[in-house]
């Protein structure tokens, strides 16, 4: 099968280096992968074309690139299914500086992984024999431990795109791998120090829940879902003094008691009712909303039968139920 590739290239060794697009057509097996096509480019068309790859079996995590605008492993993507309008577009992974062609500098990725201290930190007294973890607890971690550090999630993270200080999906998912491990933290498996760190700005609350990382991950780690679980762990551990935690609580409270969202009160409750400077900061937006007839209703009416919604909250998320889950 002939495959046309449009590849974003970059050569740092020329004067005034700029990225540029170059088209190649190569012949691969009908069931070949995008990686097969890229290797063919290097073998047949341009020996200086640079890419990282090793195992060709989605194990090593070397060949993450953007294919048609979205990150993924070139070796795990069938070329035939990736052809859009007759061509496969390949770019280097995003959110990392390009070294040459499809090779990017992973330093910031690894710095963030190191920042969360990616090793078990038991705090209680040492057991007499080995640390014991239940099968159930380890099975729960099996998805998140499948991470092969390919950087696909990091590449497509919409927050990292605007804020390189964000810890990012890979490091936060890795952090969850420890906070959810019964051997980490105190004798009850509570990793309070980690949660305190992750609760700070640039941590768990900065995720937008956009799901790009869930879509990009080739191994089913679903980093965003781990970040949501971190938030739940942090709130359960008592870290409730953040706009994020207050937002979740105010949102939940509104739905529980009226059946729907009280938008007007959500913002002040999220930033904190005593946070005068933040509230003043929102005043121009509020005035603008009033003058344009966009202000949510001042009296927030309950939905009919909203008591039944409250009952569901009690049954599924009441104190008894939350205690049992812990």
């Amino acid at each position: 099968m002939d495959v046309k590739l449009n590849i974003k290239r970059f050569d740092p060794e020329v004067a005034d280096p700029q990225p540029y697009w170059e088209e190649f057509t190569v012949t691969i097996e009908d069931n070949g992968t995008v990686l097969d096509a890229l290797i063919k480019v290097r073998e047949d068309s341009d020996g200086a074309f640079s890419l990282r790859c090793s195992c060709r079996s989605s194990i090593c995590g070397s060949c993450a690139v953007r294919i048609n605008g979205h990150a993924g492993l070139a070796c795990k993507t069938q070329a035939a299914t990736a052809i859009k309008d007759g061509v496969i577009t390949v770019e280097p992974a995003g959110n990392m500086p390009v070294i040459k062609d499809l090779v990017v500098n992973f330093d910031s990725f690894w710095d963030k992984i190191n920042e969360i201290e990616p090793y078990l930190k038991p705090e209680g007294p040492e057991p007499e024999a080995e640390y014991i973890a239940s099968n159930e607890a380890m099975l729960h971690l099996s998805d998140v431990t499948s991470c092969i550090m390919c950087g696909s999630c990091f590449s497509d993270c919409t927050v990292l795109e605007v804020d390189p200080t964000f810890l990012g999906p890979a490091a936060l998912a890795k952090a969850y791998r420890f906070t959810a491990d019964p051997r980490d933290g105190d004798e009850n498996g509570l990793s309070i120090d980690r949660l305190e760190e992750l609760n700070k700005p640039t941590g768990m609350w900065d995720c937008t829940r956009c799901m790009e990382c869930v879509t990009a991950c080739p191994k089913g780690v679903a980093p965003m879902e781990r970040i949501m679980a971190l938030r739940d762990q942090a709130m359960e551990a008592g870290f409730t003094n953040t706009n994020g935690a207050r937002h979740t609580e105010a949102f939940s409270d509104s739905v529980e008691h009226s059946g729907w969202l009280d938008e007007l009160r959500l913002v002040p409750k999220s930033v904190g009712m005593t946070n005068v400077s933040a509230l003043i900061g929102y005043a121009p937006i509020a005035i603008q909303a009033i003058t344009h007839g966009k202000m949510p209703p001042i009296i927030h009416k309950k939905l009919p039968q909203s008591k039944n919604v409250g009952k569901i909250f009690d049954k599924v998320d009441g104190p008894e139920e939350r205690g049992r889950r812990r």
């Binding site: 605008g69 919409t158 927050v159 795109e161 605007v162 804020d163 964000f166 700005p201 609350w205 900065d206 995720c207 937008t208 829940r209 956009c210 799901m211 790009e212 869930v214 879509t215 949501m228 938030r231 739940d232 709130m235 953040t242 706009n243 994020g244 937002h247 979740t248 949102f251 939940s252 739905v255 059946g259 729907w260 969202l261 938008e263 007007l264 959500l266 913002v267 999220s270 930033v271 937006i285 603008q288 909303a289 344009h292 007839g293 966009k294 949510p296 209703p297 939905l303 009919p304 039968q305 909203s306 039944n308 919604v309 009952k311 569901i312 909250f313 049954k315 599924v316 998320d317």
Partner: protein, 294 residues
């Protein structure tokens, strides 16, 4: 054609122009909307971060109400769509469904698993048909350059949103833009995040996202942006002046709810579509359309 209508919280709150605009175009389309006044908020992904089972139970309650009416669900919010699709995807597991139904029994409700919540965007393509929509376009938005902005929850994750069985969903908004006679301005940000979920958590990042996407579309020559998500609209429109100030540049890109753009092309007036309620000035756009003042 009749649907159980799920308007979502924001079309009755921070974006009050969306609800009446939807009603007016549905009337023209011959779509009857049966309200479900007791249906609760979907949880918008926020409740789900606290307790997924809780969110799924609330959505199953809504699905059961629609089943009782024997009607498919129609929504006008990308976020509601995504959250309902994800809940419905998980509820395909019979054991999980039984557990959730256990919580609904007291209210006399049972979800049988047959709901198929659909955003108006998909209804137009899959149920109404673009040919039929085209017949109602009396004032094509010719010459208008429109940038699509989907909202995360109507494009990801593709399995719960059943993209494989419904391949038209991937380019649905572009198809609508073309049907109403406008020109698509394709840009990288169209499926990215508007930043709304972190507005009160990290406003700087949220505004950076608004600034990035609206500037990119504007610089590619867009006259307006069109979105099926009222949450995106809130951030991209209401907060665009703030985002522009942070970016240190002018943007001034009107953001239209999808039903508004369709309504204008159906000959409805800018006032009927609620364009006077937008924060970014829509007057230049209305002048360009040549349809008179707001």
């Amino acid at each position: 054609m009749k649907y159980a209508f799920f308007p979502g919280c924001v079309s009755r709150g921070g974006c009050p122009e969306l609800y009446p605009a939807t009603k007016l175009i549905c009337e023209k389309l011959g779509i009857e909307l049966q309200e479900m006044p007791a249906a609760s908020c979907t949880g918008a992904g926020v409740l789900q971060e606290k307790n997924e089972l809780l969110g799924d139970t609330l959505n199953a309650r809504t699905f059961a109400m629609a089943e009782a009416l024997d009607l498919p669900i129609l929504t006008i919010c990308s976020t509601c769509q995504g959250v309902m699709s994800q809940a419905n995807h998980r509820l395909k597991n019979p054991e999980y469904l039984a557990k959730v139904n256990g919580f609904l029994a007291e209210e006399g409700l049972e979800y049988k698993g047959n709901a198929n919540p659909k955003h108006l965007l998909w209804v137009l393509i899959e149920d109404v048909g673009l040919d039929n929509l085209l017949k109602l376009i009396t004032r094509p938005l010719a010459g208008m350059r429109m940038a699509p902005f989907y909202g995360c929850y109507i494009v990801r994750p593709t399995d719960a949103l059943e993209f494989e069985d419904n391949p038209g969903r991937e380019t649905a908004l572009e198809q609508i833009i073309e049907t109403i006679g406008a020109t698509v301005v394709d840009f990288e940000g169209k499926t990215r995040c508007c930043g709304f979920p972190i507005l009160t958590i990290n406003e700087k990042n949220s505004m950076a996202m608004v600034g990035k996407h609206t500037s990119e579309a504007k610089d590619l020559g867009a006259d307006a942006m069109i979105t099926p998500c009222p949450l995106c609209h809130l951030n991209l429109d209401s907060f665009q002046p703030k985002a522009a100030a942070q970016a240190g540049r002018d943007i001034g890109l009107p953001i239209l709810h999808m039903p508004q753009a369709i309504g204008l092309a159906m000959g409805l007036s800018p006032k009927e579509m609620g364009l006077q309620r937008h924060i970014v000035n829509t007057k230049p756009l209305i002048t360009q359309l040549g349809v008179g003042a707001v």
